[in-house]
C-alpha cells in the first residue's frame, strides 16, 4: 500500500460541504487533500445540448443511483424512500434544483418547543453570519425583506425572473391571503464572478453546464484547487484508520480504475460524504477498538434519518404560462412553517412551487407522476397541459426517529466489494398528519389559481408504503450537546475520535422546512473556519 505526502486535513467527499471545508482550509494555508469516489463531470457531458436530453434523464442523468448505475455509485438497499444523490466532484450540485432558503430560528429550538427532537447546540444567530458569507461565496439570487424570515443582508444577485408562471402562482397565494416570496436560488440572475446569468433553459434538474447554477465543480472547486487543495477523483474511501490511542490517522482509499489501495494520512479527517455516505463509512470503519463502527459507541451513527415529508401536486391552469421556461424554483410560501398545534400536529412545512416540464416530462405525468392517457385522448390532454402547469410541494419537518436509519447492507456491495448502505424510513404519525393537512392546502392553492385540474402525489404506494424521492439526507451523524445522544459536538467534532469531524447533511439535528443545502454550506463554512484554525 502506497503512502503519499501527509496532509494537515483530509476531506472525504467533494460535494458542497467538502468543497467549502477544503477551500477555507487551503486559503488559511493548510495542506488539504480531498478524496472523492466519483469523477469530474465536464459541461459537455450534461444533456442540455442534446435533443435526447429527456431520455438521458431517465438513465445516466437520473438522480437516483439505483437507476443510474454509474460505477462511482454505491447501492442503497431498501424498499422505502428513493435515496437521490450524485457521487462525483461537486456532489449533488450536479443534479439539484439549487433552491436556497434558510432554516428559521425555531428550527434550532424544537427541543424547547415540543421535545420530540433536541435543541441544536447552536442557534440561528450563531449561523447567520455564515449564511451571509456562504451566499456571497456560492452566488445567490433573491429578494431581501421577507417578513417570514429574520432580517438579512441584500442578496448578491437580484431575484430571478418571476415570468408568467411565477406571477400566476403568486396571484394564487394573494387570493388565499397566504405568505409568498420569490424563491432564493443558487442560480445567478446576472453575471457574477465570471459566471453568466441564467438564460432560463428550463433543465435545472440535470444541473447546469454553463455555471449559472452553482455547480460546485465549475464554481467553487477551481478556486479551491488554485488555493492548493489536492483533489483526487476516483478515490473511493474504504475505511478511516485509527491509531492505538483512538485518533484518526487518515483513510485508506481504492483507486477504482486500478484497484490500488493507498493510505492517505492526515492530522485531521473531515467526513463530508452526505447523510447516507458518512454514516456508512463510519460503520465500515469498525475495529477492535470501535466494534460498533467509528464514533458509534452510543449507537447513534446512522439513526435519526430525516429527509423531509413530501407531498405534491401538478396544477394546471387554462392560461398559457410557459412553465417549461425558467429556473425550477419559482415561489416559496412560509404560511404554515411554524408549529400551530390547532392544526393537529407539531412542526410545519413550506410550499416550494416549481416550474418545469419539457414535453416528455409532461406526458409522463410531471410532478404528480400520473402519466397522460394513451390513445385517442393523448394529444388533447397534452395540448391543454403543456406550458400550463406547475408543481407545488409541501416540504415538511419530519420528526427524527431512532428507528429511521442508515445501516450496512448484509446483501449488497459496491463495485469495490464494500458493503452498501441500507435505508429504513417510515414517517411518524405526526408527519402523516402534517402531510394530510398539506394536501388539503394544495387543493386550496389549485382553487385559488383557477386550476382546471390538479393531480396530487402522496408518494404512498397502494400498500401504504411511503416512498418519496429523498434528496435531503439528514441527521444521521447529528451534532448535539449530549455525548450520549449525538455523534458530534457543536463544532462537528466526533465525541469519540478527537480529530475526526463530520460536516454535511448528516450533521443537522432537525430538518427544517426547506431545502437544506444553504444550511449545509453555512455549517461547512463555520466548521471549516474552526478546523482550519486548529494547530
Amino acid at each position: 500500500m502506497s503512502r503519499p505526502d501527509h496532509a494537515d486535513i483530509l476531506v472525504i467527499g467533494a460535494g458542497p460541504s467538502g468543497a467549502i471545508v477544503s477551500l477555507v482550509a487551503a486559503e488559511a494555508g493548510r495542506r488539504v487533500v480531498c478524496l472523492d469516489q466519483g469523477g469530474w463531470t465536464a459541461p459537455a457531458e450534461h444533456p442540455h445540448y442534446d435533443r435526447d436530453f429527456q431520455w438521458q434523464r431517465q438513465g445516466r442523468w437520473h438522480a437516483e443511483p439505483a437507476v443510474r448505475r454509474a460505477e462511482a455509485d454505491y447501492p442503497v438497499e431498501g424498499n422505502q424512500s428513493h435515496a437521490l444523490m450524485w457521487n462525483g466532484i461537486g456532489g449533488s450540485t450536479n443534479v439539484y434544483g439549487a433552491l436556497w432558503p434558510r432554516y428559521r430560528p425555531s428550527d434550532f429550538r424544537k427541543g424547547t418547543e415540543h421535545g420530540l427532537a433536541p435543541d441544536w447546540p447552536i442557534t440561528y444567530e450563531e449561523l447567520a453570519p455564515f449564511y451571509e458569507e456562504s451566499d456571497r461565496l456560492v452566488g445567490i439570487s433573491g429578494l431581501a425583506g421577507d417578513p417570514a424570515m429574520p432580517p438579512r443582508a441584500p442578496f448578491p444577485c437580484a431575484p430571478l425572473p418571476m415570468r408568467d408562471s411565477g406571477r400566476t402562482i403568486a396571484a394564487g397565494f394573494e387570493r388565499l391571503g397566504w405568505h409568498w416570496w420569490p424563491m432564493p436560488a443558487a442560480i445567478v440572475s446576472e453575471e457574477y464572478q465570471g459566471r453568466p446569468a441564467c438564460n432560463g433553459c428550463g433543465n435545472c434538474g440535470s444541473g447546469c453546464p454553463r455555471g449559472s447554477m452553482a455547480k460546485f465543480s465549475l464554481t467553487l472547486w477551481p478556486r479551491a484547487l488554485a488555493s492548493g487543495v489536492r483533489l483526487l477523483a476516483g478515490a473511493r474511501v474504504e475505511r478511516i484508520e485509527t491509531d492505538t490511542t483512538g485518533r484518526a490517522i487518515g483513510a485508506v482509499y481504492i483507486d477504482w480504475a486500478t484497484g490500488a489501495r493507498t493510505l492517505q494520512t492526515a492530522d485531521v479527517v473531515v467526513l463530508a460524504a452526505n447523510g447516507v455516505g458518512s454514516p456508512r463509512l463510519l460503520l465500515l470503519s469498525e475495529s477492535a477498538r470501535f466494534p460498533n463502527g467509528l464514533a458509534n459507541g452510543n449507537d447513534v451513527v446512522g439513526r435519526y434519518l430525516m429527509h423531509h415529508t413530501l407531498v405534491g401536486a401538478s396544477i394546471w391552469v387554462d392560461r398559457p404560462i410557459a412553465s417549461h421556461v425558467g429556473n425550477t424554483g419559482a415561489v416559496i410560501s412560509s404560511e404554515f412553517a411554524e408549529t400551530d398545534v390547532s392544526r393537529g400536529y407539531v412542526n410545519g412545512f413550506n410550499f416550494n412551487v416549481a416550474r418545469g416540464g419539457a414535453a416528455a416530462s409532461v406526458a409522463l405525468g410531471s410532478f404528480a407522476n400520473q402519466p397522460a392517457p394513451w390513445g385517442a385522448g393523448h394529444h388533447a390532454w397534452f395540448a391543454r397541459r403543456f406550458g400550463h402547469g406547475f408543481g407545488a410541494f409541501a416540504i415538511g419537518d419530519d420528526l427524527p426517529q431512532a428507528t429511521n436509519r442508515i445501516t450496512l447492507s448484509q446483501t449488497e456491495r459496491d463495485s469495490s466489494g464494500l458493503a452498501a448502505a441500507k435505508l429504513h424510513y417510515v414517517p411518524h404519525a405526526n408527519d402523516r398528519r402534517m402531510m394530510h393537512f398539506a394536501i388539503e392546502r394544495l387543493k386550496d392553492l389549485a382553487g385559488a389559481v383557477g386550476a382546471f385540474d390538479i393531480a396530487v402525489n402522496t408518494y404512498c404506494e397502494p400498500d401504504g408504503t411511503y416512498r418519496t424521492p429523498a434528496w435531503h439526507l439528514l441527521g444521521t451523524c447529528r451534532m448535539g450537546s449530549d455525548p450520549a445522544a449525538s455523534v458530534t459536538d457543536k463544532w462537528h467534532r466526533t465525541w469519540e475520535v478527537p480529530n475526526l469531524y463530520v460536516v454535511d447533511g448528516s450533521s443537522v439535528v432537525t430538518g427544517g422546512v426547506v431545502n437544506p443545502t444553504s444550511t449545509v454550506c453555512a455549517l461547512a463554512l463555520r466548521a471549516g473556519r474552526h478546523i482550519a484554525a486548529l494547530r
Binding site: L116, A148, S334, W374, A376
Partner: protein, 149 residues
C-alpha cells in the same frame, strides 16, 4: 426484423395515434430509435411485447396494461420520451403557440427580468418565532405524539 419494427410501430400508434395537430408515432420518424431503445432496455423486449399483445389494438394494449403493468410502464416511458424528441413533434408543439427548443441549450429562452414594480410582494404577511421567543407548546390535544416518546 422489418416485420417486427412494423408491428411495434402499430403498437406505438395505439398509444399515440395522430390527429390534426400531432403525427402518429409511426409518422413521427421515431421507428429506428424506438427499436434501439427497446432492445437496450431489455434483450427481447420487443418480441415479448408483441407476443403478449398479439395484434395491437386498444383492447389488447389495455389488456397488457392490466396484466403486465411493469412491462407496460416501461413501454409507455420509452415510447413517450422517444416520440417527444422527434423533430416533427417539436414542430407540432411549437404550432401550439409556445416557444419550445429541441434542446435546452445553447439558446435558452428570452429574458424576462424580475421587475420590482410588478414582481415584488406588496404584502407584509409572514412571521417567524425569534430564538428567544420559542416557548413550549401545549401538546395535550395531540395524542398521536405518544408514538416515539
Amino acid at each position: 426484423m422489418q416485420a417486427e419494427t412494423d408491428q411495434v410501430m402499430r403498437l406505438a400508434d395505439v398509444l399515440l395515434p395522430g390527429d390534426a395537430l400531432f403525427p402518429a408515432a409511426s409518422a413521427s420518424g421515431m421507428a429506428a430509435l424506438l427499436m434501439a431503445r427497446l432492445h437496450a432496455a431489455e434483450d427481447g423486449m420487443a418480441a415479448r411485447l408483441l407476443a403478449t399483445v398479439g395484434e395491437p389494438t386498444v383492447v389488447t394494449v389495455a389488456r397488457l396494461e392490466t396484466a403486465e403493468p411493469a412491462l407496460f410502464d416501461s413501454l409507455r416511458k420509452i415510447v413517450f420520451v422517444t416520440y417527444y424528441e422527434q423533430e416533427t413533434v417539436v414542430a407540432a408543439i411549437r404550432a401550439l403557440g409556445t416557444p419550445y427548443n429541441d434542446a435546452p441549450l445553447p439558446a435558452g429562452y428570452a429574458p424576462d427580468p424580475f421587475d420590482p414594480a410588478i414582481d415584488a410582494p406588496r404584502h407584509r404577511r409572514g412571521h417567524f418565532v425569534p430564538t428567544l421567543e420559542v416557548r413550549p407548546v401545549d401538546l395535550a390535544a395531540l395524542d398521536h405524539l405518544e408514538e416515539g416518546r
